[in-house]
Symmetry: C2
């Protein structure tokens, strides 16, 4: 859990002249819109409204700012995810996660798609620790599904013998598909229809199966 935390705000010296969260939010939008490689420092300082030395002092490098921006993205949507997971049954939780995703991915006042999922296509020349962190955040997306399903199994609202990992992989794949669809310009209507279809498959997918095939 040793998150690379923000350094403690110093008491002495000239105070920072910008709100860290605010500039991070603006950086997030640019990265979210254009991706890591296609975003230049010029783009960033223009959007963030600070000069590049301030940016480097606060975030270290472009790659690390990207990581921080993705973490800010996750933090922004954490409540939504937690509320979805808190639904009484696994089925309701999974559906809520996907409905939330549609809403977020296709908002017209924000860039399209899921910023976390899209990091998978940023092969990039980023430092290994940044790559690892991005990978972990993608894994966390998958884990949202599998952990909630496992809880459903314990609670009894998911049939005993259901292949939890397979179901989780299925819905995680839908989640990624929704993200990429939204990036391509698909609107809320069609995305919602896909979620409806995916949820219609729930009874079939959670039906108990013989161990392996």
């Amino acid at each position: 859990m040793s998150r690379p935390s923000t350094p403690p705000p110093s008491k002495r010296g000239r105070p920072v002249g910008f709100d860290r969260t605010e500039v991070l939010d603006r950086a997030m939008r640019v990265f979210w819109e254009k991706g890591f490689a296609a975003t230049s420092m010029q783009d960033l300082i223009a959007a963030m409204g600070i000069a590049s030395p301030s940016l480097y002092a606060a975030f270290g490098s472009k790659a690390n700012l990207y990581r921080a921006a993705v973490e800010h993205y996750v933090a922004l949507h954490e409540d939504l995810v937690l509320r979805a997971i808190a639904m009484p049954t696994a089925r309701e939780s999974v559906e809520a996660l996907l409905r939330n995703a549609v809403t977020v991915f296709a908002r017209t006042d924000f860039p399209s798609g899921c910023m976390v999922e899209q990091t998978a296509s940023e092969a990039g020349d980023m430092a290994p620790d940044v790559m690892t962190r991005l990978h972990d955040m993608r894994a966390a997306n998958h884990d949202n599904f599998s952990m909630r399903l496992r809880k459903g199994l314990e609670d009894g609202d998911v049939p005993e013998g259901a292949d939890i990992e397979a179901v989780a992989s299925f819905y995680a794949t839908i989640h990624k598909g929704l993200s990429l669809s939204a990036r391509g310009g698909t609107g809320t209507g069609e995305l919602s229809s896909v979620v409806t279809s995916a949820m219609a498959a729930w009874p079939v997918l959670t039906r108990p199966r013989e161990p392996r095939r």
Copy 2:
């Protein structure tokens, strides 16, 4: 249908010193691996084995080379797609399309994921005509599903009253999800399991529905 075709090979003058398909294939791999923005001309001329003026004479610009590379990618897999579509029933065709996708997306001797689908995240500064062409190629992926489903409806192997567009969107979303999963490092096993799940949903999804909801 006015494809921006290759100019006719000239009879006079010094002949071209490289095989166009060969160098296009090498460019494809680099773009496929790193994406458009993260690929530099340096990367390309190194992989293609030709000097940049030759490259520009043959392809015009980096963006246009990218378009040509994606079209080469499509041409490479055309047979596989056609054979899948030629299956006797729509269900078999859809499953074959997805199984093919898994095989292609997770090959270890090639970059991961679908080069066409991934173009959706390359917002880029490419010329409008290139962007349009990439968009059309993505749409063609969707159309593979919807057209084959429509034929199944005519042939009678898809129940009358099935919501073709919804089913097509569902499987197209799975296709995109598989691509993004593969990019993130998911292996053949898990991807195959997702296809199995998606196909298990077939009877439910193709069940006739009342017109709209």
